[in-house]
Symmetry: C2
Subunit: 409 residues, 2 copies
């Protein structure tokens, strides 16, 4: 079944805002077998909205408009849609009461502009918006189901459940079967050459490989006939074969980040970690503490950005620093051992490297990074990472997190 | 002058990729007086591309298509456009030679698919793509200028200069006059109520207020007649009046971040800084070291996420910790003093607070943050920050950076 999205709002055409609602809506629709074939982003102008609406309704059974439902003068979606469909706007007393009590609660006076938000096209059904004043509007026109939703993501997103229920009332929904795997410490081309011959052999499964610095996400979508048993068998078989190839590089089959997985494992094993960072400058600690409750297993760390702090804060030997340089296997090892001891942690994790754009030499080029891990013993891994400064720092931090994860397996 | 953008690519309709080309193109066009009234994102399917093209050409003098110029079978933009305009595709020998030498250079064999990239519609002009194999294509059709550009941003972006030159050959371009200001440590509503009466009094200037955690960006665009003197006078007057209201809260009038401004000031004054972080977990250090060359003024710091590390690593008094708690004015002060001393820095900067979602109490609610700054003397500021965990941590770090900036003025 085919769907289209029309995002209304002049600000979405400027550099001020990136339009992200449609990404969320597309995924929700996809999970119920609806395919978004086109989306429009248009100015808050009658001509643009009307033309997009007419074009979308010609081809699609579900059309979702977002934005332009607010109380100000440039919010005209409601009026333009009514006019385009030849329906009068009528006051919805239920919405009006809701608006009145909302304004009373916050001690503000309702203006005539707010009244506009209580008007809906004839025959429409209003949809509750728990996070704002603009209700959603649902309309049937011929074979098309039409939804008008508010623009702010925090208002729109919670309303997609109601949208799917309403679509389900009039159309036959199918369920999307899919599996996901997340992979760390591998390159996109490495993963693709390892599993390319596997996933291409399943003609009913669509594979998406999404790469970000230090992490690769694999999505496998069932595109074959609506047969749950067949879909799950095939997806299960594919995932098993992929797991055989990628092994421990796969850190999860759920919607969670590497730092969450590492946190859960540390908590389960009752272990603590501390960090000593140079080139990542605090990013590794930041990632670990992105997880609520991380104080249970993360004790803290040092950012020894200057050489003397490597000596003063984590006790790196000054002779070692002079002899091998700050970016070396020896210094990474001493940083990991030093922070483990001074923080009283079970595991010490260290990163030292050259993130660029300056500071590279022929012997120690940009992207050279050493990661140290100290527990019963101390080990160091050497990496050559590509990309700009920001990507190198993210890759180095993710690599350190992933090594910590593997050490806990 | 009116322009439209058509982004072609099924992947742009999935959750895998956010379409960002159009944001860049919109800004470039705007700087020459072209307004993007609508954009489409469409599947790589003939019907969708053709309908979007016809609709865009009806209303706009400039139409830019991105994507679908690659060598694979689902790249059909070139063919669909030719067909829609009723023009034959012809081999462009200049492109062919370029492709041949490119493939020779990297030691690959050209396939028949690559040959397709050397075909352009009759009457078209090819445009050089220094970063890829797909050349751009420029066409005139009636009053409309039509551009076909490659989809990957790193190929498309460098070609926008050629696009603007070609538009300038046939259309009268105007220059966009604008000014920007960036503000820290203020809320969006605070800024708006301070300057709302000022910017609304300039009917020829369009104001955009873009807010992100701990930072507000003001953009003022001249929308009046094409008179440079008048535009610059009015924009200058507006900016002067806004500066009078917002004073030192404005940290730059250029395209730069707070950490870059702070870094420049530290370097100019020959001063160094060190950090002691609790709730931000390394984010403050990460921000400072996002700037290349920050080792010149950032010595490093500690992430004392647990209470005993606050004592062990930066010498916070244990009695103080017990009596006032880790999130207190007293502990923030001792953290700032302690890290300044142990890192041998000119300034010590500390953050301690409750980022949530757990850990809040009636007395010390989520969002309570203390920032300490130690130089000749030590001072502490108390804040109540709103939003989810991530936003509180960004706000706290930006606030600390901004306080450091103000202390250097």
């Amino acid at each position: 079944m085919r769907a289209e999205i029309i995002a209304v709002g002049s600000e979405l055409l400027s550099q001020a805002r990136l339009e992200t609602n449609s990404v969320f809506i597309t995924q929700k629709l996809k999970e119920s077998g609806l395919k978004v074939m086109r989306k429009f982003v248009v100015e808050d102008r009658e001509e643009e909205i009307r033309e997009a609406l007419e074009s979308a309704m010609r081809g699609s059974e579900v059309v979702i408009l977002t934005g332009g439902l607010g109380p100000t003068h440039d919010d005209i979606t409601r009026e333009v849609v009514s006019k385009a469909l030849g329906r009068e706007l009528a006051l919805d007393t239920k919405i009006l009461e809701g608006l009145k009590s909302r304004y009373q609660r916050v001690g503000l006076k309702m203006t005539d502009n707010n009244l506009r938000q209580a008007r809906v096209p004839e025959g429409a059904e209003s949809m509750e918006n728990p996070n704002g004043t603009a209700p959603g509007i649902f309309l049937r026109e011929g074979k098309t189901l039409l939804f008008l939703l508010p623009g702010p993501p925090r208002e729109m997103k919670p309303m997609m459940g109601q949208v799917m229920d309403l679509i389900g009332r009039y159309k036959q929904l199918t369920r999307l079967y899919y599996r996901q795997l997340k992979v760390a410490s591998e390159t996109e081309s490495g993963v693709d050459s390892a599993i390319g011959s596997i996933y291409t052999s399943y003609s009913s499964i669509e594979t998406t490989i999404l790469s970000s610095p230090g992490m690769i996400e694999l999505m496998f979508y069932w595109m074959g006939e609506a047969n749950q048993q067949l879909a799950e068998d095939q997806l299960g078989e594919l995932v098993t074969r992929v797991r055989e190839k990628l092994g421990d590089s796969i850190f999860t089959d759920r919607e969670e980040d590497l730092e969450q997985v590492v946190g859960r494992m540390l908590r389960e094993k009752g272990k603590t970690v501390a960090t000593a960072e140079s080139c990542t400058g605090g990013l590794l600690g930041k990632m670990l503490t992105d997880v609520p409750g991380s104080s249970e297993y993360y004790r803290g760390g040092v950012v020894c950005y200057s050489n003397d702090l490597k000596a003063d804060l984590v006790g790196v030997n000054e002779t070692t620093l002079e002899r091998f340089g700050a970016v070396s296997e020896q210094v990474a090892a001493q940083m990991a051992v030093g922070i483990r001891e001074s923080a009283g942690a079970d595991v010490g994790l260290s990163v030292t490297g050259i993130a660029g754009p300056g500071g590279g030499t022929a012997e120690k080029p940009i992207g050279l990074v050493f990661v140290g891990l100290s527990s019963d013993q101390v080990r160091v891994k050497k990496m050559s990472l590509g990309g700009p400064r920001e990507a190198i720092r993210i890759r180095a931090s993710r690599f350190a997190l992933d090594w910590l994860r593997r050490s806990l397996l």
